[in-house]
């Protein structure tokens, strides 16, 4: 097991490195450069050229690349072209709201999707099923930012039960923190939960038809026990895998939702940096996002061993 984890961590590092490299070259392939953005449209060609020289953008690409890579290995993500702040500090400042929204969004999604999916499978083709699948279909069909706008209009504007904009750290109190992230989390959680609910439903329906479920009934166990003791864990096996993969969808949703709710998060920083051609910040943000994604999936795979005894990592490999 330990060997497996070490292998996967090494693997993850390689994946992140490749992603970072691709981003490094990709941002430089976009037309426009930071010097021009920084100095504005009126700046003279000489001034722009001087600034480019200053930023090291005139050097050959491979020189820039190797310099950047060697810095990364020293833990230095560089400084923002735009604000002269350290990229690492900027990222740390915005990571909290983004992770809060994504985390709560995931919890909301799972809390809705799994019970609804099970109910739907057990009561298939009855009204409970139609309600649950209908709602999940709505969730899947509506983009997160649009759900966010609707939620804002109803809960913040009309009812006024929660604040509409901004973010408050949990260090300033759990309740204000929850108030500020509840709607954004719901907005990212609903589409994610909608997909998971459909997955849970089909997985549970499949499990209900398994021979071992019939065996459990033939043993004289009651319905709830059969469902939760014999069925649920089996039904969750594919759900866990899918939940990990769909994390990318969730993280992507957070970017747009942050903008709707005026939250200074990772997504917003990333978009602003792309507009400004702030290369070091873009690269740093993408590294952080891929880091979260890759390690969450590693976590899911490790969790997989505890819910599926047929999988044992390590051993020979």
């Amino acid at each position: 097991m330990r060997r497996y984890v070490a292998k996967r961590v090494a693997h993850a590092a390689v994946v992140i490195y490749i992603v970072a490299t691709i981003v490094f070259f990709a941002v430089r392939a976009i037309p426009g450069d930071p010097a021009r953005v920084l100095l504005g449209g009126d700046a003279s060609a000489e001034a722009i050229a001087a600034l480019r020289e200053d930023m090291g953008l005139t050097e050959p690409l491979y020189v820039q690349y190797f310099r950047w890579v060697s810095r990364i290995f020293q833990g230095d993500l560089g400084t923002s072209v735009f604000s002269d702040q350290s990229v690492l500090q900027m990222l740390m400042g915005v990571a909290e709201p983004t992770l809060s929204i994504a985390g709560l969004g995931m919890v909301i999604a799972l809390l809705i999707a799994i019970p609804a999916g099970i109910t739907s499978a057990v009561k298939r083709y009855q009204w409970e099923d139609y309600v649950a699948t209908g709602v999940s279909f709505l969730g899947i069909s509506m983009p997160g930012f649009w759900i966010g706008i609707v939620l804002l209009m109803v809960f913040a504007d009309q009812l006024g039960v929660v604040p509409a904009f901004g973010y408050v750290s949990f260090r300033q109190g759990i309740i204000p923190w929850l108030e500020h992230i509840a709607l954004p989390a719901l907005a990212v959680g609903l589409p994610y939960g909608g997909i998971l609910m459909r997955m849970t439903r089909s997985s549970m329906m499949e499990v209900l038809n398994e021979d071992y479920m019939r065996t459990a009934r033939a043993k004289g166990l009651n319905g709830r026990l059969i469902l939760f003791k014999h069925g649920l864990q089996n039904a969750l096996i594919p759900i866990v895998t899918i939940a990990g993969i769909l994390l990318g969808v969730l993280l992507g949703g957070v970017v747009a939702v942050e903008i709707v709710f005026g939250i200074q998060g990772l997504g917003r920083l990333l978009i602003a940096s792309i507009e400004r051609r702030d290369f070091p910040v873009i690269q740093g943000a993408v590294i952080v996002i891929s880091f979260v994604f890759v390690f969450m999936n590693l976590f899911v795979d490790i969790m997989y061993t505890s819910i599926n005894p047929r999988i044992k990592y390590g051993g020979g490999d």
Binding site: D211, T215, K219, G220, L225, K229, N234, P309
Partner: protein, 406 residues
């Protein structure tokens, strides 16, 4: 489940009525009279079991043999209310003195696994892959015996996810004991393993241990060896027979394999398209098979002393259950079919006690030489059929077979 008399019930009910009251002794363990299990599908009503009657005595091995789709498994599932989506009707399904048809789900749960337990065909898919085999057996012990271990949902889930089943609990100890009983080496260690860690034969032994855990009176084994290697098959069948000898448990053995029947069963019912074709004790069935279908089945068994170049296969296929021929369902494949085959089927008693054949060849009004019909007195024959059918009404049930084994 509901008990009601379908319109064509009389034809089959006769099976019990013609029985001359014999000295069978105690009442049989399980009595099934005129069982009908019907599935409603898009293509119409499918009578998977169509008027089947039989009785199983204490301590006997009762074989039910037939092709795939002949309704053997559905018959078994119907008894325990496990035939999902089916309408189950019968004149009587009684186990000891309990009426299984009158029981609701709760009542049936108390029977399942406790008085009647089942072993399924494929041990690979019939055991829960995410539970240790010990726990799968222990939970049956817990649920059907009052041993002071909580079986609430909460307690069960905590046991499964938090504490695990205590090795010193009575249910676990019993589970280990049962694993030993069915011949699993190192049962204490094996109990902690998951099904995928065991071989096919081992898994089927676990199924058997699980079936024994509630101290049942009847074990229904639905093709228990079909998924196993031939060498393992013999071991598992011997295991079942040993258990019968040791615990006096009755076994209903469902199989498509006549060789298995010959080795293990005391009495046999041959089924075809949801109906009975012939019942007899196992020896008689092989020495003196009467129904053309039974003879066809026996002739299609390969033998080591064969000098036949080709096995005698039965031509044609099992009829579409939504469009069975009227009268005898086998008539369209039967080499001996004649004018009476469209008449309602009744069970004609043959020489030996309990031997009965649902074939009009054995009507008294038919004179024949083997399967060659000489003459049929149609009027008299139909009269006989009506008499057999009518005799069914109001005659108390006495099992006419199995007395030899009582």
């Amino acid at each position: 489940m509901s008990s009601s008399l379908p319109p064509n019930a009389n034809a089959q009910q006769e099976s019990n009525a013609t029985a001359s009251p014999t000295d069978g002794g105690d009442d049989p363990l399980l009595v099934v009279e005129d069982l009908h299990t019907t599935f409603s599908t898009d293509r119409g009503e499918v009578p998977a079991v169509d008027g089947v009657s039989f009785a199983i005595e204490e301590g006997e091995v009762f074989g039910v043999v037939g092709e795939s789709g002949s309704g053997k498994s559905v018959t078994a599932l119907s008894l325990l209310g496990l035939a999902d989506g089916a309408r189950v009707e019968a004149d009587r399904v009684s186990f000891r003195d309990e009426d299984l048809l009158a029981k609701d789900e709760r009542g049936l749960r108390a029977i399942r696994g406790n008085d009647i337990s089942m072993i399924f065909q494929d041990p690979m898919s019939s055991l829960n892959p995410v539970m240790t085999v010990g726990e799968q057996i222990a939970e049956v012990v817990r649920h059907h015996n009052d041993i002071g271990e909580s079986r609430s949902l909460f307690a069960e889930l905590r046991r499964k996810y938090v504490t695990g089943t205590s090795e010193s609990s009575a249910s676990w100890e019993r589970a280990v004991e049962l694993l030993e009983t069915v011949g699993i080496p190192d049962p204490g260690d094996r109990a902690h393993e998951y099904p995928h860690q065991l071989s096919g034969g081992m898994k089927q032994r676990v199924m058997i241990a699980q079936a024994l855990a509630g101290d049942p009176d009847l074990i229904i084994a639905d093709e228990p060896t079909t998924a196993l290697d031939v060498t393992i098959e013999a071991q598992i069948l011997n295991e079942l027979l040993d258990l019968r000898d040791e615990f006096g448990v009755s076994i209903m053995l469902i199989t498509h394999d006549l060789a298995v029947v010959r080795e293990t069963c005391d009495r046999v019912a041959v089924m075809y398209a949801g109906e009975l074709m012939e019942t007899a004790d196992a020896g008689t069935l092989f020495d003196d098979p009467r129904h053309p279908y039974t003879r066809g089945l026996i002739n299609s068994i390969p033998r080591t002393d064969d000098d036949r170049e080709w096995l005698d296969a039965i031509e044609g296929n099992v009829p579409d259950p939504t469009a069975k021929p009227s009268g005898c369902p086998f008539s369209d494949r039967c080499g001996a079919a004649f004018s009476l085959c469209g008449e309602p089927l009744v069970g004609y008693p043959a020489g030996k006690s309990g031997h009965r054949t649902w074939c009009h060849l054995y009507n008294d009004a038919v004179s024949r030489d083997g399967d060659e019909i000489d003459h049929v007195d149609e009027m008299k024959a139909k009269q006989h059929i009506e008499e057999y059918a009518a005799a069914a009404d109001g005659v108390p049930y006495r099992p006419d077979f199995g007395s030899e084994y009582a």
